[in-house]
């Protein structure tokens, strides 16, 4: 209850500022917070990244290991992105099986990377229908400061870009690791997720935790290097107008280009 009153007061303050074109932390409406990316932070993983997006911090580790393909998908390797919010990241998170928020987070991050076709999964097949390479991209939010969707997506992309893929040979129908030989993963494009929040009549890019606590609705749009829109997820308890959404798609493309430049430097 108390926190509802505080959220209400926050909202009034935030809206007042937005009317003058400003945000609490001084950003313009379509401005992201600073993104810093560090890779190779988990040397035991095949790829890893620790990213900060404002006060939000995420660590991603990538594990690569031979696996059986999914039935009916024998000509593709396996790619699975997960996300969890560690209980040390947020006073309101409780340990236990993932709730609907976390399941949505993980699935949206996964779809952004899957639907842009970032990785050429056909190149991860060892024996068709029998043995493929599996890539597990696990993201852990370690400090929760808003916009976990983009933060987990950026950490996952950076983790993948930092990967070295081990080589496997087939012996007696079973994959055997070839020591000391690695390659880069088969990257086709760079997905960039951009999340926006509507607060009243204003749409802001990369919302903070405070902005999220009083937003009306949320939209996450993932674009690829060719300027295509590949994945969208609307969230939150209210809606958008069609005009707002078209505007959001344009913002996602323009903001996305800046982030993509940061990714280019990791390649």
């Amino acid at each position: 209850m108390n926190s509802q009153i505080i959220d209400q007061l926050k909202r009034e303050k935030i809206l007042e500022l937005l009317k003058t074109g400003k945000r609490i932390d001084g950003r313009s409406l379509d401005e992201q917070r600073a993104l810093t990316i560090e890779t190779g932070v988990i040397p035991k993983a095949n790829g890893s990244a620790r990213i900060k997006l404002g006060n939000t911090e995420v660590i991603t580790g990538v594990k690569i290991q031979p696996d059986k393909p999914f039935p009916d998908l024998g000509d593709k390797g396996i790619l699975i992105c997960t996300a969890e919010i560690l209980p040390l990241a947020d006073p309101n998170v409780e340990p236990g099986p993932p709730n609907e928020e976390v399941i949505e987070l993980a699935r949206v991050v996964d779809r952004g990377i899957r639907e842009t076709e970032m990785i050429d999964l056909h190149q991860l097949v060892l024996i068709e229908d029998k043995s493929v390479i599996g890539m597990f991209i696990d993201s852990s939010v370690i400090d929760s400061g808003g916009n976990l969707f983009d933060a987990c997506s950026y950490a996952s992309v950076a983790g993948i870009l930092s990967c070295t893929v081990p080589k496997y040979e087939i012996k007696d129908e079973a994959p055997v690791l070839v020591e000391g030989v690695t390659s880069k993963p088969p990257i086709k494009t760079l997905p960039v997720s951009v999340t926006m929040a509507r607060i009243g009549d204003y749409v802001v890019v990369d919302p903070t935790k405070d902005e999220e606590s009083c937003m009306d609705a949320r939209i996450t749009i993932t674009t690829n290097s060719d300027g295509n829109i590949c994945a969208v997820q609307k969230g939150g308890s209210d809606g958008f107008t069609a005009e707002q959404l078209i505007q959001c798609s344009e913002t996602a493309l323009s903001v996305g280009r800046k982030i993509r430049k940061q990714f280019e430097q990791l390649k």
Partner: protein, 242 residues
């Protein structure tokens, strides 16, 4: 493994199920089909067969989940084991949990929850047979079931997908188009208020296509709205009930 590739579209824009680009599948909605639920609806949308039942406003259990200032809305989207080609495990999958959440958030703007503090409205959706666009069809039935339960609402929510198939934007993507096509975009609209309350996209669209696709879906939503409206009218005015 042999995959038989269906041709998804003829050169003159006729789709694999015979529809034109901007044509909806057959839709029929029946209102008030369940005796125990406070409100209910059954929809057939293409090959989708979906039941929605609504209970509430009623007391919240467990109590600590209640909100002192407002009612809350809960939603469960569930697929029957026999609803899909391979028998589905009856325990809810991660996909079903996500869809439950986006449906809840798509319905929420339409429901006036402030009037019922400390209560819950439960929306239960059962997909008896699944086809492309099952989350939209589920939403369409759920919104009608909420109205049937007498819940005060700002508007109905009408949902329909559009997509990209064989390089063309099409309305109301079916199962084959969803699986073999290039993009699928489910959209939900409050037609009178003009708010989009659900928007998802899986696929690949150029910026211009994105706009066209959304507009196409919105036209579909408005067509669906007419079916919803007619179904409610039939129950509440033609049969003379309440």
């Amino acid at each position: 493994m042999v995959k038989i590739m269906t041709q998804l579209m003829t050169e003159d824009g006729i789709r694999c199920d015979g529809r034109r680009l901007d044509e909806l599948r057959n839709i029929s909605i029946k209102v008030g089909v369940l005796k125990n639920a406070d409100g209910s609806a059954y929809i057939e949308f293409g090959k989708n067969k979906i039941l929605a039942g609504v209970f509430g406003p009623r007391d919240v259990h467990p109590k600590h989940m209640a909100n002192q200032d407002s009612g809350i809305l809960r939603c469960r989207y569930h697929m029957s084991p026999f609803s899909v080609t391979e028998r589905k495990n009856p325990a809810p999958s991660r996909r079903e949990i996500e869809i439950s959440k986006v449906i809840k958030e798509a319905l929420q703007p339409s429901v006036i929850l402030k009037d019922y503090p400390r209560t819950v409205i439960d929306v239960f959706i059962e997909v008896l047979q699944a086809d492309g666009g099952s989350r939209c069809a589920a939403l369409d039935a759920a919104s009608v079931a909420l109205a049937d339960a007498g819940i005060p609402m700002r508007d109905l929510v009408s949902a329909c997908a559009a997509g990209k198939v064989a390089d063309r934007i099409v309305l109301d993507v079916n199962n084959e188009e969803d699986q073999e096509g290039q993009a699928d975009m489910p959209v939900a609209l409050m037609p009178n208020v003009g708010k989009i309350t659900l928007l998802q996209l899986d696929g690949m669209l150029k910026p211009e296509e994105f706009k066209t696709c959304m507009q196409t879906a919105l036209v579909g939503c408005r067509k669906v709205y007419e079916v919803q409206r007619k179904a409610l009218m039939e129950k509440y005015f033609q049969t003379g009930e309440q």
